[in-house]
């Protein structure tokens, strides 16, 4: 009685096989179910319970503990602005306000078109390149309020079908925490981390 596509079911089985105990697969399965539905739905949590022999309440208890499992409708692009100490010291709050006002989307919400969600987050480990933001968890360092407005405009106009960190760093970024090395091929395709088997594509978006 699964609500998941054949492909997703295959991935679910593969994920469970990575662990000695199927309950350990709860977290990756929650991502998988976000990738399937765009965000974490009640049905998604029930489904994960079926796969791991947990009650839906137990699954929700786990899902609601972690901030990256979005249980409300989330946009195609999740813009996360870091306002923790190091980014705050270098203008993280101003970046957040710029993104919020340009997009018209306040913290924790999504625009009516379902394109952009905005949130402020705690430290994302980019303090050396502060202030930093992430789009679908792909990083931009050395950011500024101006770039924040451009980013929002770009996402709305270009509507890239995937988000590539190097491309965005090139368009909107500045100094980085450390030398990023050669280009990153994988890109994110939704408001969840791009990590196989959920939500990544190879090669940059056009």
């Amino acid at each position: 009685m699964t609500i998941w596509s054949e492909e997703t079911q295959v991935r679910a089985k593969e994920l469970i096989s990575r662990y000695p105990d199927k309950r350990s697969a709860v977290m990756p399965l929650l991502y998988l179910s976000m990738a399937e539905a765009g965000h974490l739905t009640d049905e998604g949590m029930e489904e994960v319970g079926e796969w791991t022999d947990l009650t839906p309440a137990q699954v929700r208890a786990v899902a609601s503990f972690y901030t990256m499992y979005k249980r409300e409708r989330t946009g195609q692009y999740l813009v996360s602005c870091c306002t923790s100490i190091s980014c705050m010291l270098l203008g993280g709050d101003e970046v957040l306000h710029a993104v919020e006002s340009e997009s018209g989307v306040p913290h924790g919400e999504t625009d009516d078109e379902g394109v952009i969600s905005v949130e402020h987050v705690e430290c994302i480990g980019a303090c050396g390149g502060a202030p930093a933001v992430q789009v679908n968890y792909e990083l931009i360092e050395g950011f500024t309020p101006e770039k924040g407005r451009e980013l929002v405009k770009w996402l709305r106009s270009a509507r890239p079908d995937s988000i590539n960190t190097d491309e965005m760093q090139g368009l909107f970024g500045g100094s980085t925490s450390f030398d990023w090395g050669i280009r990153e091929e994988a890109s994110a395709i939704g408001p969840y981390p791009a990590f196989q088997p959920f939500g990544t594509v190879e090669g940059k978006s056009k």
């Binding site: 990575r18 662990y19 000695p20 105990d21 309950r23 350990s24 697969a25 709860v26 977290m27 990756p28 929650l30 991502y31 791991t52 208890a61 786990v62 503990f65 972690y66 901030t67 990256m68 499992y69 996360s80 306002t83 923790s84 100490i85 190091s86 705050m88 010291l89 270098l90 987050v121 705690e122 430290c123 994302i124 480990g125 980019a126 303090c127 050396g128 390149g129 502060a130 992430q134 968890y137 792909e138 990083l139 960190t165 925490s177 450390f178 030398d179 990023w180 090395g181 050669i182 990153e184 994988a186 994110a188 981390p193 791009a194 990590f195 196989q196 990544t200």
Partner: protein, 430 residues
């Protein structure tokens, strides 16, 4: 001052492809893993003990000792802690993205030394790029026989699973991390009885080590315990990575060895304060650490001992620098907000206390401060970490709660005037 680079050597010499297996093999990669396979467990554990390698995750506990405490029951597990979420810290991210094989070789050495056949690499959810790099490296290692069934031509099996977190700083705490890996809420476990070395992952003996810690292992085997120990200053051993951020000209990760002073670190290594402003305060070891101020601490040495003696810690190696333009109330609010947001919620003092402190600080910053608020904040802090002592007298299960009082202690010790200014001005004077 500048010790030879160890864990950042390869990425410095070969910025283009330090993360690839070809480069890794071409630069002596996996030779030490092979050697480890031919050594006895006792020998390996002994080596790591004598080299004095300390954990780089924050607790600075001897890696060799930790290994020697592992209970005899099997299966045993290894968990690599890549949850790096302590504000100001971004060193593990560099190691994961730029030299993943170095860590994997460390995983092989640790596993062989401790009879582990299944290791897990837990990477925070906000590091998908790091996770991808590590997964690719793991796949390559499997393909070339460094992982999987019968590694390196021996009959030793080693499986490695890369696990992605989902946004919870507390999962960096080793027992919370284990709960998370078991598919549960990332709530720290009670110690006793749940010491990982005895009742860890799936209630079996488990070693939890930090990314940087294990990344050192191939080098220790290569250069030998004594030489490695000699890289550092006095009681500390090897090199350690520090992430410098905030108001400095050259923020970033630096691999340090022989002891230097904070003055050298901030003004030479990190290039000094941006726009040559005045240094106001810095946090020496990640958001959890009590703050330092120039008049008192600038010429102290950057060592575990000296820092502890001065009532703080090197912790995760993150240094956050604040210049004269910084509002200390706002800075404190931001750090307390972090701990309140990241509290797992089990312990009454942490759950209620950190939120209470956050509310008071925000009230002061927004101009609703009262003369009594400092005493109140000290009182509330007192209930989380009795007497604001160092090391803390915790009323909680894990140190997260008590970490939240560090900024309050700083305000009380050095910046009372700024609070008064907020109260008088009825808002933030900055």
């Amino acid at each position: 001052m500048s010790a030879p680079l160890v864990v950042t050597r390869r990425m410095t010499d070969y910025p283009g492809d330090s993360h690839t297996i070809d480069r890794y093999e071409a630069t002596g990669g996996y030779a030490q893993a092979k050697r480890a396979c031919s050594m006895t467990r006792e020998g390996l554990v002994e080596d790591i003990k004598t080299c004095g390698l300390l954990g780089r995750g924050g607790a600075a506990f001897s890696a060799g000792l930790k290994w020697s405490f592992l209970a005899p029951e099997r299966p045993a597990y290894l968990v690599i802690n890549g949850d790096e979420s302590e504000p100001g810290t971004f060193k593990d991210r560099q190691l994961l993205e730029r030299d993943p094989h170095q860590m994997i070789e460390g995983v092989i050495i640790t596993s062989v030394a401790n009879e582990v056949h299944h290791a897990f690499i837990y990477i925070r959810g906000e590091y998908p790029k790091s996770a991808r790099r590590v997964q690719t490296a793991v796949d390559e290692a499997y393909a070339r026989g460094y992982l999987g069934k019968g590694i390196l031509g021996t009959d030793y099996d080693l499986e490695v699973t890369v696990h992605l977190g989902a946004g919870a700083y507390i999962c960096g705490e080793e027992t919370a991390l284990i709960n998370s890996l078991e598919g549960k809420r990332g709530e720290p476990r009670l110690k006793p009885p749940y010491f990982p070395a005895a009742k860890g992952l799936y209630m079996m003996p488990t070693i939890v080590n930090n990314v940087e810690t294990v990344s050192n292992l191939p080098h220790i085997l290569e250069m030998g315990a004594e030489k490695f120990a000699g890289l550092a200053h006095e009681a500390d051993t090897g090199t350690f990575m520090t992430s410098i951020s905030g108001h400095v000209k050259k923020p970033g990760n630096y691999e340090l060895g022989h002891g230097i002073t904070w003055r050298e670190l901030i003004y030479d290594v990190a290039g000094g304060i941006r726009d040559d402003r005045e240094l106001k305060a810095w946090i020496p070891g990640g958001a959890s650490a009590p703050w330092f101020v120039p008049d008192v601490h600038l010429d102290l040495e950057v060592t575990k001992e000296a820092t502890a003696a001065a009532g703080s810690m090197l912790g995760s190696g993150a240094v956050i620098v604040m210049d004269e333009t910084t509002c200390m109330v706002r800075a404190a609010e931001r750090i307390v907000r972090f701990f309140s947001h990241e509290s797992c919620g089990q312990c009454t003092p942490c759950r209620e206390g950190t939120t209470w402190l956050e509310m008071i600080l925000r009230r002061i910053e927004e101009g609703q401060g009262r003369a009594v608020d400092l005493d109140l904040m000290v009182g509330v802090s007192d209930g989380i970490s009795i007497g604001l002592a160092w090391p803390p007298k915790m009323t909680t299960i894990c140190p997260l709660g008590p970490s939240a009082v560090s900024p309050i202690k700083a305000l009380k010790d050095y910046f009372i005037a700024e609070i008064d200014a907020h109260v008088e001005a009825g808002g933030c004077p900055f």
